[in-house]
């Protein structure tokens, strides 16, 4: 259903891209100039890492300490890339360019699709719509400082949570997926107070995948059916209801 893929991807793109305004405003109030705020959004383009960099600078940390924190948080994009690679199968310059939009939302939207064409479409539309809007809104936020209102007033933070849940929902029809999702959520929640922002997601996801592998390991007699293998190829499981 390409039409729904287009609408869904652009919807997530708008809701997420609007957050750029809060980053731009926060960056300039933390001591960065407008160019530096815009350079971070253009070149780094992964929200949690950008906020972390600005946070370290605001706290009086060294720029390289900010860079280290930022890159550590960006490590989850490595795992997103591994999940996306068999679905997108990008080659050459498409991979070089596409890599820049490997982020939370484009990954979630791509892996939520039924087939490979839809996944590619969702990845591109979500990623690039966020990229364009995120950068424009960063500029607006940086120029306006804190004058522009908080996107939370419009519930945009809750919208992203709702979008992730809507993507997860159709995958919960089998027991291993349910267990893995709940373990991921529980471990991530438990780690929030004790680890730097961004780490709970990657650690929660990693622990949940390990638990999922243990769940299936003892049952050596169960081989994946051809259909399951095909779905595995495109990184996809259940169909939407």
């Amino acid at each position: 259903m390409p039409r729904s893929v287009v609408a869904d991807s652009l919807g997530v793109g708008v809701a997420t891209g609007a957050y750029g305004v809060s980053f731009g405003a926060l960056a300039t109030t933390s001591g960065l100039d407008v160019w530096q705020a815009c350079a971070l959004s253009l070149l780094v383009f992964t929200g949690a890492s950008q906020f972390a960099f600005v946070g370290v600078i605001a706290a009086g940390g060294a720029p390289l300490a900010g860079a280290a924190t930022s890159i550590l948080l960006g490590s989850r994009n490595l795992f997103y890339g591994i999940g996306l690679a068999p679905v997108l199968r990008l080659r050459g310059w498409r991979r070089v360019v596409g890599a820049q939009i490997v982020i939370d939302e484009s990954t979630a939207m791509a892996l939520g699709q039924r087939d490979r064409d839809d996944a590619r479409l969702a990845f591109r539309l979500t990623g690039w719509s966020i990229f364009v809007l995120w950068n424009l809104m960063t500029l607006a936020g940086a120029l306006a400082g804190t004058a522009i209102g908080d996107p939370r007033t419009f519930g945009l933070d809750a919208a992203v949570g709702g979008a992730f849940l809507a993507l997860l929902w159709p995958r919960l029809t089998a027991v291993p997926q349910r267990v893995v999702a709940v373990v991921g959520a529980a471990v991530a929640t438990g780690l929030v107070p004790f680890t730097a922002a961004g780490l709970p997601i990657i650690l929660g996801g990693a622990v949940a995948v390990c638990v999922g592998l243990l769940l299936r390991a003892p049952d050596a007699s169960h081989r994946a059916t051809p259909a399951e293998r095909a779905e595995g190829q495109v990184g996809r499981k259940e169909e939407r209801p």
Binding site: V12, P63, I71, R152, A158, A159, L168, Q177, G205, G235
Partner: protein, 99 residues
């Protein structure tokens, strides 16, 4: 010096993104890789939802976002379309914050 930090961050973050996409085919077709690839989406989505809804920096808070997620659950049970679920979550949180 801030520019040095920005460039280092940009190079590092881009390398991680490109690195994930560049894992070779023969690794991707291994059964273990395929099982892991199948488990990664629900694992990360579960973790993303929890952090998105409950975390405020390093604190856990219960606020309008959780109500928004509750609204999303109800709408999903009613088999509402994706954008209705997203808009419902946003509207619920926005209205609660107005009160």
């Amino acid at each position: 010096m801030i520019w040095v930090g920005i460039i280092v961050t940009a190079v590092g973050c881009y390398a991680l993104k490109l690195g994930g996409l560049s894992v070779p085919d023969r690794v991707l077709t291994r059964p273990l890789t395929q099982r892991v690839a199948l488990l990664i989406p629900p694992a990360l989505l579960g973790a993303l939802i929890a952090v998105q809804v409950l975390a405020d920096g390093q604190r856990l808070v219960i606020d309008a976002r959780l109500a928004g997620l509750g609204a999303a659950v109800v709408l999903l049970l009613l088999r509402a379309p994706f954008l209705v679920v997203v808009a419902g979550a946003a509207l619920t949180a926005a209205v609660l914050r107005l009160l």
